[in-house]
Symmetry: C2
Subunit: 345 residues, 2 copies
Amino acid sequence: MNKGKQPTIKEIAKRLKISTSTVSRALNDHPSIGLITTMRVKKLAEELNYEPNRTAIFFKQRKTFTIGVILPSLSEAFFSAAISEIENFANSRNYTVILGQSLDDPERELKIINTMKVHRVDGIILSSAKNTREFEYIEILRNAGIPVVFFDCVPDLVQINAIVSNLKTGMKEAIDTFASCGHRGIAFINGPAHLPASKEREEAFIDALVNNGIPLNRDYIVYTDLSEKGNTDATLQLINLSERPSAVVSFNDYVTLDAMNAVRSKGLTVNQDIFFISYANYPIWKYMENPPMASIEQLPGKQGALAAEMLFELIDRDTEENADDSGIKQGRKIVLESKLVNQHV
Amino acid sequence: MNKGKQPTIKEIAKRLKISTSTVSRALNDHPSIGLITTMRVKKLAEELNYEPNRTAIFFKQRKTFTIGVILPSLSEAFFSAAISEIENFANSRNYTVILGQSLDDPERELKIINTMKVHRVDGIILSSAKNTREFEYIEILRNAGIPVVFFDCVPDLVQINAIVSNLKTGMKEAIDTFASCGHRGIAFINGPAHLPASKEREEAFIDALVNNGIPLNRDYIVYTDLSEKGNTDATLQLINLSERPSAVVSFNDYVTLDAMNAVRSKGLTVNQDIFFISYANYPIWKYMENPPMASIEQLPGKQGALAAEMLFELIDRDTEENADDSGIKQGRKIVLESKLVNQHV
DNA sequence: CTGTTAGCGCTTTCAG
DNA sequence: CTGAAAGCGCTAACAG
């Protein structure tokens, strides 16, 4: 029960009657240390059950081998898939992941970012809170020299690193699919208008309609704040139109779930009176008796992995002390094409 | 662009022509420092945008204000609900959460535990990997003086701290419900036999049958390894019996999802030919047209919060240096009753 | 190849 | 009320 009596290099040095620096070097396989000494040191370290005190190393090296991941919510399937892959990647590099959920609250987000800064994380992966409009933290982190990679919810700025998913390709496929099935009344339940993700979807929606020679009906675009009530209301708005649409693209699966409930509550039948396609983030369709017609896959796991990869590149670059300020890395963006998958029906 | 030129207490001391110790004390509101000095120090610190270097503090204080959370999977709803609450709780105490997913692999689990030990976390919350049979890490962590709280998947040992959910109450209610609806052919799709959680469920299942005067039919208890195939196979085993059961309790929602698919694939109808109740961990029933009859709620969020609470008690206790070894805290367990909820049908 | 020395930033006795 | 000095455990010039 050698409580708290963790051995240190000093202890090893004393027992071996050599200096601490030699011990340190031996332990780190420094080439300049003789093979025999190295062996002796390692052997004793083993015996004593020596473990380096990383807090000392962190302190000394100004590096923590820790990255921060900040997400709106840890309990949404999209994000848990992403973090799962991030953790995986980090783990393979012997990095540790620290975690924060913003709950889409900008204040909370800022607080988490500060905590992470204070913990001196080596980098941050961030999916911004939906309601964040001011991105002061970008400046804060830049000053602190902490690299950041965004994904999913990416601020509409140039000088940032991000994994973005091209929402347009998937939307086009969705509309094409609907059109080729003969649908003309195609509606769109979009998310909050201020989100880049909403704008992009909407543009793509309109483009795709035009492409298919379907005239745009403004009533067919409705908005939800993504709450259950918002989703339901938006859906009812569509259902109550004199000319009810027969096909609906929606912002994401959560919206679709509520929408389908609303549809049923009105005595209509999914996949008969009305068809759905949505951006995928909830992997349950295979279990539903009447799933949407298809999903636009956004590959959250892949996005997470790519974000991690990009972040580690930035970290490595920093570490290899590019003293020159070319290190002001211009924002780099990797685009991931969304695409239609899972023809459920 | 004061790159890397974070001000230190030394800097403040110099400018104010006082000693670093005074600065340190002032910053920490030490009572022995004069009000005026304290003010001056704080003011300058503010101006310089001083931020204490936590890595130095961690090093000095042998405390990292970080807890580790290790879960089998980050992408299962049950666990994301739990971690979400843990993060919440930790956040409110200004602690940081570091994260690891074992993917139910004992080796990986051990590796993560070592990483966390090395990062000197102040405590760990752990839901053990399903396949872990050897709990050497308990000893390791005890020696390292890192308190641990288990939840959900808890080793069957006495000297550990844990939040356990009493699976029996819920099972009893489930069987009672089935029985009161007139079901006599009640089956049980259990998880891997070696799990404490499976054993407990099975005991409760048998007890409850007896209680309701229903004779036990051994064929009505089947097992799955929780894979999709395992779930399907187990279900088919039941369906193919000469006397098909009319009601099924299953290990958890994921099992039920696959089971319901299997049932449908055989041309049977859920909630007509066969009824389901399962331990809840997947919040989607409200969206299903034919959900299970009810769910046995296990309150993952609450379990997480309780685990965090218990862990912080242990940490605080340690910190208030109970040098005496009464600190060999006997295992304490908090039991959470599972109960039947969501009468979906 | 190895030892000496200094120091990371902060806290904390011990003396005033 | 304040300062001087030591030290946490480790690394890294700089000397041999």
